[in-house]
Amino acid sequence: MKLILHQIALTTLCFGLLYGAVLGFTFLVFPDPPRVGWLDLETSDTTPYRTATKNFFLARDVLDVPDQKVLLIGASNTLVGFTQRSVQALVPCAKVSNLAIGSANITELHQLVDLVHEVQDEGARRSNTFVIGVWFGMFADTEKRWPGPDRHHGDTDLDVERYRYGFYRRTSTGPVATLPPEWLRAGALLIRPYLLVEEVTRDLTVEFRRIVLGRQPNLTEAQRETAVMSEQDKSDALAYWRLNMGSTSEISQAQVLLLQNTIDELLRSGEKVVLVDLPIPSWHRDASIYQPGYARAVENIFNHFAGRPNFQGLKMADLDEDKDYVDEVHPKPHLANVWASRLASVLTPLTCTARTATDPEAPCRSGLQLPPTDTDAAKLSAGERALPKTRNAHDGRSTNIRQADGRVPRCVR
């Protein structure tokens, strides 16, 4: 037994030394990202975490701040349609985080909310404004969305990250944290050697994945702006979404119910919610078998929460010109600016009111730059359809949020 313990000690010592050396090296290769109180998952590939889910999961503790926070959650169209920088520029009273994750369904949104809450104290939670961007593609059951053999049955992308480094363990009742949330930052630092290898692997296999596995690199902004879908592309897209929805003919009612429950939980805990019915190009909306059921479900949810304080609904169905979309779902950059301004018109009064009500001096101490709203107004006039129409949750009527002079409301002292 002594011999075995001796060997264990030797192996542990060597492993500790090696791990420590690699850990130290990682700080030279990629310094810790600055902790600014917000996250932008669109730029995850510039962080040590590289993927959106990993970035969110490991860096979410930065959201534990008392400032007003706008947390954008949804799928990839929320990620590219409400870019962090464009929304932040128009919403001066809050720190805007874009936490949208590609291919997310409602289950994953719910998990995302839970994971945010896990790292926040009561005060930080109360200053959350969740913006939930939805479209029909998000209402697929998890087992059907990720049926692949590469993961445990029923795991979302976030679940995969939970278990990947042992921060959570799998139980019959769901994931249970093995690492206390307050230790998340320490855990994220300790696993840096893992991140280093993942980064090197990704970099070394980019060409391989492109050529052999057919993984296409992300389009540049210019390419996205000029993209045009052919009839074949449209047909392929419809087939893709049918497969992605689990080859069913209707959206999942369980996912609808889960969205309703998620919003309800948020409102009950005193957080604010903006539910955004994201537009898709008209050809897709008209051709998809899922759109009618989805439209009914979202309308019901809007009606269900109408009148609840802290809830706002935003519909942008008029922004459906085919030529404004890169593909069947994602807006081109110029349209994304319009999306952002529409959202800002709802968020600015919501967040500034809350902020000034609790701390009138806060906007001017925050260091956040107020946006040049005249310029914005000029930009927006290029797409006058962008005039922000929101549905007032209290009376259900559409109201024009923009001020009479065309300027979006500013945070005032």
């Binding site: 192996t11 990947r164 290898v197 993942e198």
Partner: protein
């Protein structure tokens, strides 16, 4: 209990610690019995899931006792028939499942390997080659040894008995390092190399069943790549498992039999099976091939027929061995392919010896071109036949066969054989070059620091690379 779970490592640490706490044989046997019970219990959620396994073990023990007491061929035959029938029922072979099945979920992991052990002791009890009467607890420790429970190796009772609770291995610092190194290497193979091969396999194989049209060359290339990736996955997964259990066995005073001996250096299909899953081949040789050949030779005593009777015996043995791997009709096809491979190989040997004479045939088989071509053909045949293991449903198998046709399968076979031959030749040359210049390195590699740092590097690489994959790896042979 997954071999990659923290619970398994805790279980292992406790078992090894408890085992070495006392040197009493009776104590150590109790420790191993408890460890086996805990290990098996970890696979189930309630007791009812264990009942069929317990019943099978009781039946096996009753059969063993009946054969030992009566010492008649009829009692052995009856015992074998009953045990096999219950095994087929419990394993839910597709042809029996619609007729009868137990109406609740139960554990079938390990059942195939228990079957081998039960049949072995029954046959040996009849022939009188068992050392003593096997007590029920010894029977349990032998059939349910947690080291061999999931995927073998198939150890003979006579070998197990020599180390049951005894110090068959005298541990010293080098032996302990060897055990640790073997375990880490096993995990590295299993968690990293096999997982990477599986990643490629899983990435490409769906295209074989997709609707997209593929030209004959692309189809052959794709199929060839998939079968090569699956073969690599299977080998590193299974041999990794063997390294792990053999290493753990050393720490528990057991020398488990090796299951692999560089199988891809085999120059013929028959040699391949002397190097691949060796304990399975050995079992079939002892308990099916030899008795069956003896039976045939008794029935057909003409000396000129002996070689051809061997061909028939090989066919039947490999057919049964193939069928053992699964419960669907595709595994019958697998068995036929294995049987055809073995008997054609034997016929080739007979034909060459007749045509060239033994001396010239031996000279021919020592030629470099012959060696590498034979290695390539052996690999290609085995890899293509393994398709049955990853397309276990008949309708899928037929769809794939139809799509590939003779051209696709043949093209892939030729591509595999030639690429493997070339790769093996290059690899052997590189290894030989390094071996001739490795004296200095060898001296360094014996040092304590080097040895332990190399262990640490393997552990780190394994942990880090394993985290890249979304799901933990599992042992593929567990399913057979």
């Amino acid at each position: 209990m997954s071999f990659v779970s923290p619970i398994f490592f805790a279980f292992l640490a406790i078992t090894v610690f408890a085992f070495h706490l006392n040197t009493s044989v009776a104590y150590r046997r109790r420790v191993m019995a408890v460890a086996n019970a805990v290990f098996i219990a970890s696979y189930v959620n309630n007791v009812s899931e264990l009942l069929p396994l317990l019943a099978f073990l009781l039946l096996g023990y009753a059969g063993l006792e009946a054969v030992r007491r009566r010492q008649t061929s009829s009692s052995l035959a009856a015992g074998i028939v009953v045990v096999l029938a219950v095994y087929i029922f419990l394993k839910r072979f597709t042809f029996i499942e619609p007729l009868a099945r137990l109406p609740f979920p139960y554990l079938i992991v390990g059942l195939s390997y228990i079957l081998f052990r039960v049949l072995q002791v029954m046959v040996d009890a009849r022939s009188g080659s068992l050392p003593d009467r096997i007590g029920p607890l010894a029977f349990f420790r032998y059939t349910c040894n947690f080291l061999c429970f999931v995927s073998g190796p198939i150890q003979r009772y006579q070998d197990f008995a020599t180390m049951d609770g005894l110090d068959a291995v005298r541990l010293d610092a080098d032996r302990v390092y060897e055990a640790f190194s073997r375990i880490v290497t096993g995990y590295f193979k299993f968690v990293v190399i096999a997982a990477v091969a599986n990643y490629f396999f899983m990435s490409f194989s769906p295209q074989l069943f997709g609707a997209a049209p593929l030209g004959p060359f692309k189809l052959s290339l794709l199929y060839g790549f998939c079968v090569a990736a699956y073969t690599a996955y299977l080998y590193f997964n299974f041999s990794g498992y063997m390294d792990i259990v053999i290493g753990i066995g050393l720490l528990l005073g057991q020398v488990l039999p090796e299951n692999f001996n560089r199988p891809f250096t085999a120059r013929s299909f028959l040699e391949f099976w002397q190097r691949w899953h060796m304990t399975l081949s050995e079992w079939f040789k002892l308990y099916l091939f030899n008795p069956f050949l003896m039976f045939l030779m008794t029935r057909f005593p003409a000396p000129g027929l002996t070689a051809y009777l061997g061909v028939a015996a090989f066919f039947v043995t490999f057919l049964v061995m193939g069928i053992w791997h699964g419960t669907t009709l595709v595994f019958v096809i697998y068995g036929l392919l294995m049987g055809a491979g073995a008997s054609l190989n034997k016929l080739w040997q007979i034909a060459c010896a007749n045509r060239f004479g033994k001396k010239r045939y031996r000279a021919l088989s020592q030629m470099t071109a012959y060696i590498y071509l034979a290695r390539g053909l052996t690999f290609a045949y085995f890899a293509v036949a393994l398709t049955c293991l990853w397309v276990p449903e008949l309708h899928q198998f037929l769809t794939l066969s139809k799509r590939l046709g003779i051209t696709g399968t043949g093209g892939a076979f030729v591509l595999l054989a030639l690429s493997f031959s070339a790769a093996a030749l290059i690899l052997d040359s590189v290894v030989a070059w390094f071996s001739s210049r490795g004296d200095g390195l060898r001296a360094v590699s014996e040092g304590l620091v080097y040895k332990n740092m190399s262990l640490a590097i393997r552990i780190l690489a394994m942990l880090v690379i394993a985290s890249i994959f979304n799901a933990p790896a599992d042992f593929v042979y567990k399913a057979f």
